[in-house]
């Protein structure tokens, strides 16, 4: 679904991505792990076409990224930022309808899709409430729903569970599993190893702009301890020490 080939991205001479190469399959939940400054968010932004790499190639669904086809490819992608990217004075339903119509849906389609998503994220009863009046967990769920209102093939999520209570985290996980079952590809950055272990099909561990390990959580654990008594967090710590 997504291929990243030898990508380099520099900020003021500092390599945020240093010849990164990886491939993500359709319907996969892919985790990007690493300490602060490892290059996770830059990798996510390059893959989601928000940032232009200095060199290397990004191929999405068989289409190479270039300035001409940017708009066509962007429609396949959805991004759920860490921030609550919503209109706080508008209602839950109005936010979904607005971003749906922005994503190219007709009003009737947007209404139908908003209804489905409100049920999925358990906000049906809050449809007419202003976002500013929702709890933190509700806002997070709506943030995700708005990101996929236009039915993207790939969803990028930048640490969506930061500062979220365990109940909301569990509900986000079940949402993501539901999306995966519908064939959506999810690329996910997180600091929480337990979360990545539980959720991701494969993970890439990044450090100083490089990918230092890439495999399934099980395989990574086996590579350090064949009996798998080791946790993903311990693997991560050993890899990044």
């Amino acid at each position: 679904m997504i291929q990243v080939l030898n990508v380099v991205k520099k900020y003021k001479g500092l390599k945020a991505l240093d010849h990164v190469t990886l491939s993500i399959n359709q319907g996969e939940i892919f985790g990007l792990l690493g300490p602060n400054g490892a290059g996770k968010t830059t990798a996510l932004r390059v893959m989601s076409l928000l940032l232009k790499p200095d060199s290397g190639e990004i191929i999405i669904n068989g289409t190479k990224r270039n300035e001409k086809n940017l708009r066509g490819v962007q429609g396949l992608l959805g991004v759920c930022p860490q921030e609550i990217a919503l209109y706080s004075e508008l209602s839950v339903k109005d936010n979904l309808l607005f971003f749906g119509m922005m994503g190219g849906l007709r009003r009737r389609e947007a209404v139908e899709r908003a209804q489905i998503l409100m049920e999925k994220v358990d906000l049906e009863e809050k449809a007419r409430e202003k976002v500013s009046q929702l709890s933190g967990g509700m806002k997070r769920r709506l943030n995700i729903a708005v990101s996929i209102i236009h039915n993207p093939m790939v969803l990028f999520m930048d640490e969506p569970t930061v500062g979220v209570d365990p109940r909301t985290r569990t509900s986000i996980f079940s949402l993501l599993h539901g999306f995966k079952e519908n064939g959506m590809t999810i690329i996910y950055t997180t600091h929480y190893m337990e979360e990545a272990d539980r959720l991701c099909d494969r993970v890439a561990v990044m450090d100083r702009g490089r990918i230092i390990a890439l495999d399934t959580p099980e395989a990574l654990k086996s590579s350090f301890d064949p009996l798998k008594h080791i946790s993903l967090e311990e693997v991560y710590l050993r890899l990044t020490e």
Binding site: L49, R71, Q74, G75, V79, D94, M101, K130
Partner: protein
Amino acid sequence: MRLLALALIDVKSLTANKRELLLHILLPALILLLVAALFGGEPALYGEAILVNHDGEGMAEVFMERLEEERGLKVLAIDQEEAQRKLMSSEILMFAEIPSGFTHTLSMGEPPEMKVYRRGVGGSSGQMLLSLYKAVLSEMSGEVQVTLLVREIAAEYGDNPMREEEVFIPFMESFLRSARLNPTVKVEEVPLGRTQNMAAFFIPGVMTLFIIFTATFYAQNFVREKNNKVMERYFFAGLSRGEIISGKFLGCIFRGLFQLLVMLLVVVFFTKTFSGANLFNILIFALAFLAAVSSVGVFMGIVFPRPEQALWASIIFSMFNSALGNTFAFPRGELALVNFINYFTLSYYANNGLRGLIAGDGLLFSIRVEIFVILSVTLILLAVSSALFSQVENN
């Protein structure tokens, strides 16, 4: 269609917030009503002669009557203490003192004396009043001297002084009155308005001030949307940067338009400053100005990284444009630098344009320079905004 939806979401956000909406509409309406009430009639200083009458005799009374009846001034006689208090607190800029013995001096044909107390030059109306005082005093003095001369000549011819009451005094009064009413120099007065309309001067200033502040205030919304990644959602919706800039620019105009229409209605209904004939052109011109300051708002939203910075920028921009730009006063002629800077304010062109439409023939063609400048600024700022926005997002 998506562009319109993007523009309308800003209006919807505004209308969803009842408190903000109330301030957005009520505040300018209230200020305009206040201006209309304060400046709708004759300005307070115009033609008000403040006098302290220590003489209290005939000639002082005649002096005041002539100022009031023949020069059309409003004469206000107050005591010395009150006059000085008002002058010290700048409530008035000038007052004149009629000294005791004024009638006696004048009746003897000697030059009358008056003392004038003033702050600075007494303001422009003070200078005019001073000229009028001198003119009336000179007139009265001249009349007394002519009367004394005629009396002297009559006495030389041995006319019966007993006939003075019956013949001489009525004759002189009639003669001098006729001379006053038929001066050697005539100035024709052509009234062009019922009263001097100060509201017509101040209302465009208040309107441009609100239009500027509302549009540039919007910059912080733009910054917030950038920072909380709402803008990124637009990218993934497939909107180009140009479409985003255009949508936000239109959104800013729609928000301001809402307020502009309310202000126009208030002005039309409560001040009659805009008539049916020029109202449409005023609306068109005000819209062009709204577009110009909306482009400033979008530009600020792109340039500043934090909402507080954008807010301060909008406050400073609004203050700069209202302090200058002929908003509430014209800069003095000798301040060449201020006059030069004035040309670099948007409000200068907006105020001149609006006042031109109110006072002139009401045709947009008559303010083509102002329209050209305003539209050029809009286009240039949108082009620069579009270029900068691309650079920021595409690094």
